[in-house]
Symmetry: C2
Subunit: 361 residues, 2 copies
C-alpha cells in the first residue's frame, strides 16, 4: 500500500475468509442502541457508513487506520460542525464537514492524505437523512481525492443534541516548497482573494425558517486543495500565508493575520467582490458582509514580485475565476486592518464582535 490515500475500488477485501452476513438496518430512526458499540452499532456502521466510505483502511474496522508515510512535514487539523439547518442551499453538514477540514489542510500548504469523521447523533434522527449526509461526505471526499479512513458514532437522547453534529480531522503532507504561517506575512506582500465573499453565511441565514427573504444565494462550500496546488505550482514559496475566511469572515481572518504577522493590511473596498444578492441581504439584515462566513474562498499573501503570476494562476482555476488583488501588507501600524472605502474614505476594519449568525458551520 502506498501513501496515496486508498480509493474506493472493486477490489476484493483483504480478508477473503467467509464472514457473517452483513447485518441489515431495519430501523428508520436512530436509536440509542445504535451508539452502544454492540450489534445495533455494527448494523448502523456496516449499512450506512461502510459502503459509502469504503476503502481498504476503513474496511478493516480496526481501532485506528494504519498506513505508511514518507518523511516530511505533516499538517493535522480538526473541526466540529454544528450548522443549522443541516441541509441548506448549496450543501449540507456532510460536505461542509469534509470540505472544511480539507481546506484547513490546504491553507497550510498541505495535500490532504486522509480524514476521520465522528458523528454525534440525536435519538430519533431519520436514517434516510443520515444516508444523504454520508453520501455527500463520500462525494466531497472523492471529488477532493481524499479518503475517510476512520470514524466513530455516538448517540444521545432526544433533546440532547440537534440532529447530527460531525467532527472531522485530517492529515496532510505539506508541500516542501512552502512555509505557510499566519505569522509569515511580510510588509509589501500583496493580499489576494479568490472570489465573492459572504455566500455561505447568507445562504444559511436565509435558509432559516424565520426569514422570508427570497434569494438564489448558494453556499460556496467546496474543497480548495486543487486551487491551492495550482497556486503553489505557479509561485512556490512566494506564498507566505493562506487562510480560508470561514467563521468571522474576511475581516476576522485578515485581523488574525495582521496581528500574528505584526503588519498592517490595507484593503481597497472596490476590489473586494460581493454578489448583489449578498449585499442586498446584508443591508436588509443589518449585517457587515466582511464578517460573514465563507466556505470556499481563499485569502493568500504573496511576495510582490510573484503576485501577478499568483493572480493569473488563481484566475485560471475554476474556483478562482473571480480572483482579485484586494490590498497590501504594510509595515505600520502593526496588527491593524484598514479599508479604503468606495467613497474615498478609510476606516479600521475590526474582527467580528458578537455573533450575528450562530451555528453557521
Amino acid at each position: 500500500m502506498s501513501e496515496t490515500p486508498p480509493t474506493k475500488s472493486g477490489e476484493p477485501k483483504r480478508d477473503a475468509a467467509p464472514r457473517r452476513r452483513r447485518p441489515e438496518l431495519r430501523e428508520e430512526k436512530i436509536l440509542l442502541s445504535h451508539g452502544s458499540g454492540g450489534k445495533a452499532s455494527h448494523s448502523l456502521i456496516e449499512s450506512v457508513f461502510a459502503d459509502a466510505f469504503s476503502n481498504s483502511l476503513l474496511d478493516a474496522l480496526d481501532d485506528a487506520a494504519v498506513f505508511p508515510v514518507d518523511s516530511g512535514r505533516f499538517a493535522f487539523t480538526t473541526d466540529s460542525h454544528v450548522v443549522s439547518p443541516i441541509f441548506f442551499p448549496g450543501g449540507n453538514i456532510g460536505d461542509l464537514a469534509v470540505n472544511g477540514t480539507i481546506n484547513d489542510l490546504a491553507v497550510s500548504g498541505a495535500t490532504p492524505l486522509c480524514l476521520s469523521a465522528a458523528f454525534v447523533l440525536e435519538e430519533g434522527f431519520p436514517v434516510e437523512q443520515l444516508r444523504t449526509i454520508v453520501e455527500s461526505m463520500a462525494a466531497a471526499a472523492s471529488d477532493a481525492g481524499v479518503s475517510i479512513v476512520t470514524g466513530d458514532t455516538k448517540v444521545v437522547h432526544s433533546g440532547k443534541a440537534d440532529g447530527v453534529f460531525i467532527t472531522t480531522a485530517g492529515i496532510g503532507r505539506v508541500d516542501g516548497r512552502v512555509h505557510i504561517a499566519q505569522s509569515a506575512v511580510q510588509p509589501g506582500d500583496k493580499i489576494l482573494l479568490t472570489g465573492p465573499i459572504g455566500d455561505h453565511g447568507i445562504a444559511i441565514m436565509l435558509a432559516r425558517e424565520e426569514l422570508e427573504i427570497e434569494s438564489e444565494i448558494l453556499s460556496d462550500t467546496t474543497a480548495l486543495n486543487g486551487l491551492v496546488e495550482a497556486l503553489i505550482n505557479a509561485v512556490g514559496g512566494a506564498v507566505h500565508c493562506m487562510k480560508d475566511p470561514t467563521r468571522g469572515g474576511l475581516a476576522t481572518s485578515l485581523n488574525e493575520i495582521a496581528q500574528s504577522s505584526q503588519v498592517c493590511i490595507a484593503l481597497e473596498e472596490e476590489r473586494i467582490p460581493i454578489r448583489e444578492g449578498v449585499r442586498g441581504a446584508c443591508e436588509i439584515l443589518g449585517l457587515d458582509p466582511f464578517t460573514i462566513a465563507n466556505e470556499g474562498k481563499l485569502i493568500a499573501a504573496v511576495a510582490p514580485a510573484a503576485s501577478e503570476a499568483a493572480l493569473r494562476a488563481m484566475r485560471s482555476h475554476p474556483l478562482g475565476a473571480q480572483s482579485q488583488m484586494i490590498g497590501d501588507a504594510l509595515a505600520a501600524p502593526p496588527g491593524i486592518v484598514f479599508l479604503n472605502t468606495r467613497i474615498g474614505g478609510s476606516r479600521v476594519m475590526d474582527m467580528l464582535v458578537g455573533d450575528p449568525l450562530p451555528r453557521i458551520c
Copy 2:
C-alpha cells in the same frame, strides 16, 4: 523541531514581536458568541485552552498544526465523547476523551504523537467546569507524554446539546516490530486481559442521579500506551492483536476479534477478574459484566510461545498487576466466543445487544 511531540515549557514564544494584550474572559457562562470565530472566540481560546494546552504547535493558532515526521507506519483514529454525567467517580469527559484516543492508538501498536480536541459547547455551560475539564485533558495528555496540538470550539443554543461533547483525534507512529490487526489472531494464540472488567460502566451508571446504590467503584479511565510499550518490548511481534474493551465490553470486543480473525475464542470465566462491587451492582441492575464498558483495560492475543513472557511484562506494569491469561484462540467454530463457566458449563458469549447503558463514553 523534532518529531517528539512538543511539551509544555517556559520557553519564550517564537514570535517575540509585541502583541496585543491577551483578551480576558469575563463571562461565567458560555455564550453563543464564544463560538462565532470572532473576538469572543479568541478570548475563550486564549484564556481557557491556550494556557492549559500550551505547546509550540498549538500556540501558533494556525489552521493546522504542522510538524516534521520520519518515514514509517502511522496510525490515525478519532472518538466523540458524550458521557453523562460529565463528571464521574474517577474522571471526567476530558481525561476520558484524551485517554480514549491514546488507547485506540496504543492498541494499534502505535506510540501516540499528538492529539486534536474539538468541543461542542451548550450555551450557558459554566466556564469553571470547562476549565476543570480542560485541565484534566492537559494532565492526561501530559501523563501520557502527548500534546494537544490543534482544536476547535463550537457553541450551540441552550437545549441543543448537553453541556459539552468532546471529539479527539490522534496520530501515532506504529512500532516497527508489530503488525497488529483485529484480523490477525491465529488459532493457538493466548488471550490476555490486564485487570478487572466493568469498572467504568458501573461507575458511570451509579453516578447517575436516578440510582441510589452506594459504591466505591471508580472509572478505570487511563492511558494504556506505557503498558503496551512494555508488552511490545517484552515479546515484540508475538503480539498479534490488542483491543481496549470500551463500549460493549469484553464480550463485544472479543466477538469482533473472533469474527475478523475467523477464530473461536474460548474463555475461562473463573480467570476473568471482576471486582465484588461491580459484580454486585450488575446483579442488582440485571446487567452482564461482560458487556460493560472499560476505559483502561487491554486485551491482547499473543503467540503461545511468548504468552508467559507477555503475562509477566503486563503484570510488571502498574496498570497490569492483575493481568490474567483468560482464554485461547481455537480454529473452530470460527467467529464464535465461548465461555466455560465457573460451574462447569459452557455458553456462547454474544456481543452486546441493545443498550443497557447509553452515553457511557
